[in-house]
Amino acid sequence: MNAMPPLPKQRKLSLKERYAHLTRGLGWETTYQPMDKVFPYVSYEGIKIHDWDAWEDPFRLTMDAYWKYQAEKERKLYAVIESFAQNNGHLNITDARYVNALKLFLTGVSPLEYSAHRGYAHVGRHFVGAGPRIACQMQAIDELRHAQTQIHTMSHYNKFFDGLHDPRHMHDRVWYLSVPKSFFEDACSAGPFEFLTAISFSFEYVLTNLLFVPFMSGAAYNGDMATVTFGFSAQSDEARHMTLGLEIIKFMLEQDEANVPIIQKWIDKWFWRGYRLLGLVSMMMDYMLPKRIMSWAEAWEMYFEQAGDALFEDLSRYGIRKPKYHEVASKEKHRLSHEVWSIFYNYTHAAAFHTWMPTEEEMTWLSAKYPDTFDKYYRPRFECWTEMQAEGKRFYNPTLPQLCVTCQIPMGFTEPDDPTTICFRSADYKGERYHFCSDGCKDIFQNEPEKYIQSWLPVHQIYQGNCGGAEVKDVLAWYHLNFGTDNFDYEGSPDQKLWEEWQAQKATNPV
C-alpha cells in the first residue's frame, strides 16, 4: 500500500484556482519521452514561449457546463429546423434569388467550419500548455457543430432548390471555391502559432463581423428563419472564439519581444488573405440579397475601419501596427463588390449559383450607396449588358481567366488609384513567372514562394487535363454541377420557375 502522508491543511480554492486544477493542472512534464518529441511543432515557427502558465484562460468552461449549455442550444435549434421543414419555411423568404447566397455559404463557408474543426484539433493536441490546448479543443468541437448544424439547416433548402446538392465535392474542385479552400488550407498547413494568428485573430476576431454576420443578417432580412436561428445559436460560440483570438495574440506578444515582427508579418498576410476572401461576401451583400442589410462599403467602414482602428491602437503598445495594405482595402471599398459581381456575371455558365443584372430599383440603391463610383464606372457596363441580353446577345466570357497565384481570384481587380485599369503584378521564381492581382498577394507569395508554387490553380488544372476534360461541359460534370440547372442566369432557371409556381399556389385556391 502506498504511504500517503496526511494532506496538509489548506484554504479553499478560489474559482480561478479551482478551474486551473480542472484544466491546466491535468497536464504534466513528460519524462519517459522528451517534451520536444511529445510537442514537436511549437518551435519551428520561431515563436518563443517562456511560460505557458502565463496563459490567461479566456473563458472558464468545464465540460459539465459545456455539455449542458450546448445541449440546450441544440435542442432549441433542431426544434426550429424541424418546424421550418414541416411548415415549408422556404416559401417565406423574400425572393428565390436569396437562396443563391445560401449556395455560396454552403459550398464556400460551411466546409471551412469543418476545416477549422480539424485545424483546432491539431493545435489542441500540439500546444505545450494544457490551458490553451483546452480552449482550442473547445473551439475544435464548436466548429464541428457549426459545420454539422449548417448542413442540417440547409438540408431543407437542398430539397427544393438547385446548386446545394454536393457542397463538399464542389468546394474541393469548383474554380471560385478554391479561393476559400486555399485560404483555409494555407492556415491549416502552417504551424500552430500562425494558424491561431490566421484564424483565431485575423479571421475570427478582426473579420468575423464581415463574414459570418453578413450571411446571418442577410438571412434575418430575407425571411430565412432556419439560417438566422442557426446564426443566433452560434453567436455565443463565436463570442468565445473571438475572445480566444485576442487572448492568443496578446499571449504571444507578451512572451517575447522577438515574437512581435513574426506576428506582424502574419497579421499583414492574414489580413490581406482574409480581405480577398471577403470579396465574395461583398458581392453577396450588394447584389445577391433581395433585401439588403447595408452596403459592403458601409460594413467595411463600420467593422474594419472603425473597430480595427480601436483594436490596433490597443495593440500598438506591443509594437503592432495596422496591417499592411489596409489603405488599399479602403480605396477598393467603393468598387470591390461591383468588380466581383462582374466576374461572376462573365462566368455564370461555370458557377453553381445564378446571376442577374440588378433591376433599376437596385441600381438606384447602388448609386446612392456608391455615389462616387457606381454611376461612373459600373452602371453603364450593367446597362450595356442588360441591353445585350434583351437583344438575345447575353455576354459570356468564353475564355478561362488568369488567376492570382495567391488568392486564386480571377485577375479582375483594378489599380488602387485607377478604377479603370486592371491591376497586374508578377514575380519570377526558379525560372517560372507567377501572376498576382495585387501587391498584397505578391508580397505573400514572395515571403513563402515554396508554399504558393504548390497552389492547385483551377484554371491551370483544367488546362492540364485534371478536371474531367477539355470542354466546359466536361469540367462542369466533374464539378457535379448540373448544366442548365445550377448555372446561368436566375432568369429562366428552374429555381425561378418553381418559385413562381409556389407563389401562385399560395395566392390562389385549388380548383
Binding site: 500500500m1 502522508p5 494532506l7 489548506q10 484554504r11 479553499k12 480554492l13 486544477h21 480542472l22 493542472g25 491535468l26 504534466w28 519521452q33 511529445v38 468545464t62 465540460m63 459539465d64 459545456y66 449542458k68 441544440e74 435542442r75 435549434l77 469543418y114 474543426h117 480539424r118 484539433a121 489542441g124 493536441r125 490546448r133 479543443q137 473547445m138 468541437i141 464541428l144 457543430r145 459545420a147 454539422q148 442540417h152 438540408s155 437542398n158 430539397k159 427544393f160 432548390f161 446545394l164 446538392h165 454536393d166 463538399r168 468546394h171 474541393d172 474542385r173 478554391s178 488550407e185 491549416c188 498547413s189 502552417a190 504551424g191 500552430p192 508554399k451 504548390q454 497552389s455 399556389q505
Partner: protein
Amino acid sequence: MTIEIKTATIQPRRQTYANVARRIGADKPASRYDESMFDLQATGEFHYRPTWAPELELFDARRTAIVLEDWHVLRDPRQFYYGTYTITRSRMMEATEKAFAYAERRGHVAGISPEWLQSVHHYLLPLRHYEWGANMNNCNITDIGFGSAITEAAMFATMDRLGIAQVISRIGLLMDGGTGASLSAAKQTWLDHASWQGLRHAMEDLFVAPDWFEVFVAQNLVLDGLLYPLVYRGFDEAGLAHGGASLSPLTEFMLDWFDETSRWVDAVIGAAARESAANASHLSGWAAQWSARARDALLPIATDVLGPQAEAAIDTHMADLAARCRKIGLAV
C-alpha cells in the same frame, strides 16, 4: 383515432445531398447522422503540404498501416453528431450532478473507512492524468485520422476524456474539502509513485506513436478495456466492504460511458479488421502487444488496492478483454 391537419404539400425535388445519396445507394431521406458525417473531410485537390509534415498531404490515409477502400465504413453505431452527442452527455451529467449535490450536502464522502479513503486517493485521483493522456491521444486521432467518420467520433471522445478527468478531479475536491491538496498529491503520485510508472510510461509512449490506428487500439480498446472494468467495477466492488458504496454514484458516469463507448470502439476496429487479413493482422498484433503492456502497467496498482487477489482479478479482466477482441475479429 388520429386527427389530420391539412398542410400544403410541395413535392421536394430531391431527398438528400448527392454525396449521401451516392453512399446510401439512392436519393431517399437520410438520417441526420449520415447527412452531417459523410465526406466532410477533403480527400484531394490539396493546395499546400503541411509545413509540419511536408512529406504528407494535409489529410493523408498513409498515416496508418491500416488500409481501407472507403474510410466511411468506420461508422459510429451511436450515430452521434454534435447535437445528439451533447444532449446525451448532458443527460448523463444530470445524474452525476445529483450524486455530487447529494455528497456535497453531506460535506464529504460519508461512511468510507479511513484506510479505504486513502486507497481511493491512491487509485482514483491519479487517473485524472490518465484521462488527460487519453484526451491527447484522441485529439491526435482527430487531428491526423483519415475521414470524417472516425475523426468526428474521436473529437467527441477527446472531450469525453476531459470531462471524465474533471469528474475525477471533483471527487478529489469533494474529499479534500475544496482545497485541491488531494489533486496536488495525486499528481505527485502519478509522476513519482512506482506503482503508477508503468501506466504513465505507456501513455507517454503513445503520445509519440506515429500510427494513429495503433493509438486507437492501444488507448480505446486495450488500456480502457482493462482499466475501466478493473477500477470502476473491480476496485469499486472491493470498496463495498469498507463503506465505499457512497463513492459509486460519483463514478457511475464512467461505467455508463465505458459501456456506450465500447460499442463505438468495437464497431470501428471490427470494420477495419473485416476489410482485409492484413488489417486484421495489424490490429491483432497491436491488441496483443498492448494487452501485455497494459497488464504489466496495471498490476502494481491492482496489487496496492486488492492485495494478493490482484493477479487473479486482473487475469479475469484480461480474459474478458481477449474474448471481446476475438468477438470483433482479432486473433489474440
